[in-house]
């Protein structure tokens, strides 16, 4: 019995030592992702992109920081798309896994409370996808890779007025999805300020898991708008566009970055051809690193990466760059994390696959957006690029 105990304790100690030995040469980054729950696809895309990046860098011998090569270790945790779970997950990553920085959560519902925790514990967190201003507001340790709703809203308004020559519009959005709701409201305000009060003829909502939109669409179609603004997730977009066509609507749709998934076209098919949406990057006709990313991702996971994948890639890239900016890791967690925070602030320009970005004082990126059009082949072709004034 005694011997067994001794053996056990020795092996335990040995394991702990071994872990520490490894830890000395690795950089741990936590991923707080929505792998189950409402939006498993988002978590999956993020994870895939991160895996690809890790394979790249580790394949090349690791990340060079201050003249020393470190292997990357990514720790993926599932936050079940629940706020409370996102908090425990964040704490787990910070304290138990001792990560240097955290990527995610993607969805605002999880990103806001998780951001609070990361900020309190002084760990850099970057949310690839969250667009709610509250996520980073007054939180020096929290960043994001996506542009904000107040930027994307005007993009859609200006484009529609210019390209569609639209005088009236209608909006259909997801009431329980804060992203969709926020964007819809910004759009409405802006469009009415430009085209006069009442020019948004219908402002309708639906629930997150709804599948039938016929009543809302009937109402919208009866109002005869020039186009419908649809700040919705791609799976719902597919259903909404199809149903609108079935109800006899032949007009234009304008979408937002949440459309940007390769799945959109598998789900929607020919009904979506020719539609426009604003997004972070245009996959079709992409060049350079972006093109390479898309093609490799496609080869590996057999579908075109969506915006979450691209943003995760960039978010992770930003963090890695910040780590490099520290000019060398000390191995002391608190100090390194602080150094990374400073490294983030030191980024003047980062050229990611979703465009060039730098961060303002709130930790939000200043970057350009594009409007793409869906081609007959189901590719998202570049139409116009719009940069913040």
């Amino acid at each position: 019995m005694k011997r067994l105990l001794t053996t056990l304790s020795i092996s335990c100690i040995a394991m702990i030592m071994a872990v520490q030995v490894i830890a000395a040469d690795t950089i741990k980054i936590g991923f707080n992702l929505e792998m189950t729950g409402d939006i498993p696809k988002v978590g999956e895309s993020s994870k895939f992109a991160a895996e690809m990046l890790k394979a790249d860098i580790n394949g090349a011998g690791g990340l060079e920081v201050g003249g020393k090569k470190y292997k990357l270790e990514f720790i993926y945790e599932d936050n079940e798309a629940k706020a409370e779970s996102a908090v425990t997950t964040t704490l787990k990553l910070i304290e138990k896994d001792e990560v240097l920085a955290m990527i995610g959560p993607n969805s605002t519902k999880q990103a806001i409370p998780a951001g609070q925790v990361a900020n309190d514990n002084e760990v850099v967190m970057i949310s690839p996808w969250s667009t709610n201003p509250d996520t980073t507001f007054n939180r020096p340790w929290v960043f994001r890779a996506a542009f904000l709703d107040p930027f994307q809203g005007p993009m859609a308004v200006n484009f529609a007025i210019k390209t569609f020559k639209a005088k009236t519009s209608a909006v259909l959005y997801d009431l329980s999805n804060d992203y969709s709701k926020g964007l819809a409201e910004i759009f409405k305000k802006l469009f009415e300020s430009k085209m006069g009060a009442g020019s948004v003829l219908a402002f309708e909502s639906h629930g997150t898991k709804d599948q039938d939109f016929s009543a809302q669409l009937t109402k919208i179609i009866a109002a005869k708008p020039d186009f419908i603004f649809l700040p919705d997730n791609y799976n719902q977009v597919a259903l909404i566009v199809k149903q609108a066509r079935q109800l006899g609507f032949k007009g234009e749709f304008m979408g937002s970055d949440a459309w940007g998934s390769s799945e959109l076209m598998t789900l929607c098919g020919k009904d979506c051809v020719g539609l426009h949406f604003s997004t972070h990057y245009a996959a079709a006709g992409a060049t350079g690193a972006t093109k390479e990313f898309i093609e490799r991702y496609k080869a590996k996971y057999s579908y075109t990466p969506d915006d979450v994948a691209a943003l995760t890639w960039d978010a992770t890239g930003v963090v890695l760059k910040a780590i490099q900016n520290t000019g060398g890791l000390t191995g002391k967690l608190k100090k390194d994390r602080k150094a990374i925070r400073e490294g983030m602030a030191a980024i003047t320009s980062f050229s990611g696959i979703t465009g060039n970005m730098k961060f303002n004082e709130q930790g939000d990126p200043i970057k350009c957006g594009v409007v793409v059009q869906i081609t007959k082949n189901g590719e998202f072709a570049f139409n116009e690029s719009i940069c913040p004034e």
Binding site: T88, K92, I94, I112, Q116, D178
Partner: protein, 338 residues
């Protein structure tokens, strides 16, 4: 004498120890947060057990009441003590937060108890699965109401509660959230035990076993039902308030049917009509969820599977309708369980 107070003493010791360890940072924040959510889950499962186990109804919209409590106590707290976009400057000096905090949580509880009337009044006429629908519908209604009030963020959620926690920490440097969660958990269990063990509260069990006989034998069934629903939803409201302050952020989506079913599972896992069963199952369930986190998606196959298998062996839940004192009679020396 010592025996009589043994439970009080041991509770005080455990509480003190947790606070001390947390304060000295021997317990990591991660463990602490799991413990705090465990407290919230304990309150949720015991309070639902009051309705589903003791009274024999089938309420499956408990998340809705939690939502009411969470919103009311956080809105009130932020309005009174914290600067906010919606409410502007705080009305009262933040340094009083510490004294007002339990009141904030209790007000949330009272608001949830009032929302409980939404279910209690139809329950006079309806029972069983029809009542289940009423609770379910009330859950949807509560969430929908909050989503429709843009001023408090709607589906964007509401935040700012962190400022209160910080203010408390400034007054006296202690980890306040764990302390409050611990105190309120003990308070809720204590309240429930007293209610259920009084002759007055035994009317609840009488309703469960034979409502007609209860009414004929002078139990005012409508009154008892109302009180029980209100106590139960009020406690859910307290749990909601704590939940909101732990997270520092609330969102109506956190209190949907999934939340409600999670609580349901805890109640039935522990055993209907067993207070200690509910506490035990809430603890086990929280730990299980945390331990199996590395399994990611597979976790949500393994946990239901475990529960199904458990039900096959113990079709009455972990404790059935017995209490700890019935299983370990020696404990009765220290405490009267019924």
């Amino acid at each position: 004498m010592l025996r009589r107070y043994s439970v009080h003493l041991s509770l005080a010791t455990v509480g003190g120890l947790i606070v001390y360890l947390a304060h000295q940072e021997y317990i990591s924040l991660y463990i602490m947060s799991v413990l705090m959510f465990m407290g919230v889950n304990i309150i949720m499962s015991t309070s639902l057990n009051l309705v589903n186990g003791y009274m024999g109804e089938f309420s499956c919209g408990h998340g809705g009441f939690m939502c009411v409590g969470a919103y009311v106590s956080s809105l009130l707290g932020v309005w009174l003590f914290a600067g906010d976009k919606v409410f502007g400057a705080p009305l009262l000096n933040p340094k009083y937060t510490l004294y007002a905090f339990p009141l904030l949580i209790l007000v949330g509880g009272i608001a949830a108890a009032l929302a409980g009337l939404l279910v209690a009044i139809p329950s006079y006429k309806t029972r069983g699965d029809y009542l289940a629908i009423i609770t379910l519908a009330s859950n949807y209604i509560i969430i929908s109401v909050i989503e429709n009030i843009g001023a408090i963020g709607g589906s964007r959620g509401f935040m700012g509660m962190k400022q209160l926690i910080n203010a408390m920490g400034k007054s006296v440097d202690l980890p306040w959230m764990p302390i409050w969660v611990f105190l309120f958990t003990v308070f809720c269990i204590w309240l429930m035990r007293r209610y259920i063990s009084s002759t007055f509260g035994k009317g609840v069990i009488a309703i469960c076993q034979d409502e007609v006989a209860a009414e004929i034998m002078s139990v005012n069934t409508n009154k008892i039902k109302t009180i029980t629903f209100m106590v139960s939803s009020g406690m859910a409201g307290i749990a909601g308030g704590l939940f909101a302050y732990i997270l520092g952020y609330v969102n109506p989506g956190s209190f949907n049917i999934l939340k409600s079913t999670e609580v349901l599972v805890m109640v039935y896992l522990g055993g209907m009509g067993s207070l200690s069963g509910s506490v035990l199952s809430a603890i086990l369930f929280t730990i299980l969820l945390e331990l199996l986190r590395p399994l990611q998606i597979v976790k949500w196959i393994v946990i239901p599977l475990l529960l199904i298998i458990l039900m096959q062996f113990r079709p009455e839940g972990i404790m059935g309708n017995r209490e700890l004192g019935d299983i370990f009679p020696k404990l009765k020396k220290f405490y009267r369980f019924k």
